[in-house]
Symmetry: none
Subunit: 206 residues, 4 copies
DNA sequence: CATGAATGAGCTTTCATTCAT
DNA sequence: GATGAATGAAAGCTCATTCAT
């Protein structure tokens, strides 16, 4: 998951650029029409390429979908990496800000749509499932490490998952309630994040 | 949203049964293949009907999708109605149980897939958006009423949305992490629910 | 082609009325959409009848088309019958007036559309051809009789056909040139009609 | 309406040839079955092409119909161009010969069927109407110019339309009366043409 | 007599993919 | 590498006709 800067030849660079072009076009089309309504012709047109040529880089449309799922998951995972550097007392706040911030922009609603497509596909296509689970495990491992080793908390895996419930739950909520009052949500979200990271769990409660 | 038992004629009963047949078949196919990959032919075959005959009951495939979205949203809303009868001191616990319980069954993962499809479509199709937002508003109104009038809490709308973040977030989480440890999650979830319903918010925190 | 007033029973009257209802609806739909795009369902709806019930009166859609062709041709033939009573010196004028008058109304443009459909179908369907030729022969016989016996002219068949060229040609012209100046056309048409009915033909000319 | 011989690339030639192939096939099928009964599958088969590929050249079946209407109308217009070179004293004779000649062949009956389809469609589809009216205006302009400037006659527009009444009227007549005696018709037609082009109109008459 | 549910073939159109150039 | 012509199966949908009620 880490980028080792192996130098590329010109041809390789060109190839990578081409692939990015295709994936960008595909992502756009998938958001706009869904995986299965977006035609190769439209993707090709957006990528400024002939439909036939796409098959020099991808074996099939399924392969493009898989590549998109991989790229988007990797990008999401990357965004979690920055929490590593955060001071432990501020983690809840930083995460809250991040969660709220990330849905405050229009771009992220589109991102959410792509995520919905990915998760739906994930239940049907084992290859997609594998990619998604892989990235999720990576993110969880990072976060769990943070929570267990840096914050010294128990139930680290469960707390991790619960943190992540907040992220995806918030994105989901915005889709269903477009009038969501983020102003007030942020207060509740911060309290919730802190509650999840509270050392005393299952002790005082009940 | 209430069921008034108006007696039906034989023809009406038959019609309603046929429509149910179609919607059941469609829901199944949509889960299995997605809205846009599920062909009318397959839906028809599952509904034990000729493809042409479906058009006696639905104007188009889009109309079937809309009907499915409406039906599923209504069913989800119904499930929230039972919280009305819950004693206020137990609300957090009941909701937690409900949230965890509802994702513990295989049926609900399929339900989640349908939800993903619906939310993706919601960003593309204004008619679908309208249906989803309508049902979400209804559920929120119920829950807000509960929180404000029965529990006497402020920030009722925000707390409502935050509660619902937990439900959809949890369902989402299970799709990404199929090994989710529900056992431990339930503890955290109950604490989170209680935290959201805690009278002191934004006061002690910070 | 003549109406002998045989008294009808109530049931027969009802039947005739039903058939008229269907033919009126069909004619309307055929004008609006063409023979092969007008669906039985639409015809049935316009005739305020169930689709199935139409088959009590007509064996097939083809039979309805044939009946329409028959009825419309018969009506057109009827309109020619009134020329019988016209004074021979006025025939050209009366026919001119009739020809121009008949296309001056909107109704007759629709009539023309139906005629176009009929003539196109006539080249494909022998049964339709038979009906059209039968009525045309009837009209020609009448007109030829008039020209030969009342006006005492030679070449009666050819003159008849030439007269009829004017009728259909004028209707055709209006479809292609909707700005047709009828005011001036009427002068030319009268002269043409008179020329066709002129006793000296092939004699002075050339 | 004039042909400028711009040289074509190989690809352009191929494209033009393909389009001709489709239009020829379509014209054949339209004559045989009518616009709306001729299926794309049959047109494709006749054009020796897959059904799907037709959509590389035409947006829809409607577009093919429009192209056919345009091509046939243009061809018909072209045929009128030759009258320009005719000596004014012979115009009536030449036109008569042309009118009679053009319907004497089987090809032109088929042409007539296509014309019927076109005129029927013209009343339903504004785009088709526009194409037909455009070509008709072009032909009329040519003929009016001839009659007014070369023959020096008044009422040029009306005479033009009246000439054209003869052409379409004759074609129409042959469809209704397949036993039409062309031998005798030609005499009457020549006299009629001359009558229409006679300098004294509305003067002696009446 | 009258309905409208039901069928299944056929309609126009789209689409992933291949391949000659 | 790059094109876009070409395919053929499948998509959503329509329609003439039948038949149980």
């Amino acid at each position: 998951m880490e980028q080792k800067p192996i130098p590329m030849t010109g041809a390789e660079k060109r190839r990578t650029a081409r692939i990015s072009q295709i994936l960008d076009a595909a992502a756009h089309c998938f958001v706009e029409m869904g995986f299965h309504r977006a035609g190769m012709a439209k993707i090709a047109a957006r990528a400024k390429m002939s439909p036939g040529h796409i098959y020099h880089y991808f074996e099939s449309k399924e392969a493009i979908i898989a590549a998109i799922v991989d790229r988007e998951s990797a990008r999401a995972a990357e965004r979690f990496a920055e929490f590593d550097a955060v001071d432990s007392t501020e983690l809840a706040s930083v995460m809250t800000e991040r969660a709220v911030q990330s849905i405050a922009e229009k771009t992220d609603i589109l991102q959410s749509v792509l995520n919905m497509e990915m998760l739906a596909e994930c239940q049907r296509n084992p290859e997609i499932a594998c990619i998604i689970h892989k990235h999720d495990r990576y993110v969880r491992d990072q976060l769990t490490h943070l929570i267990r080793d840096k914050l010294g908390l128990d139930l680290a895996e469960a707390r991790t998952d619960m943190m992540m419930v907040q992220f995806s739950g918030l994105a989901n909520r915005l889709l269903r309630n477009p009038d969501l009052d983020l102003q007030n949500m942020v207060v509740l979200m911060r309290q919730t994040m802190m509650s999840i990271l509270s050392p005393t769990i299952g002790h005082e409660a009940k």
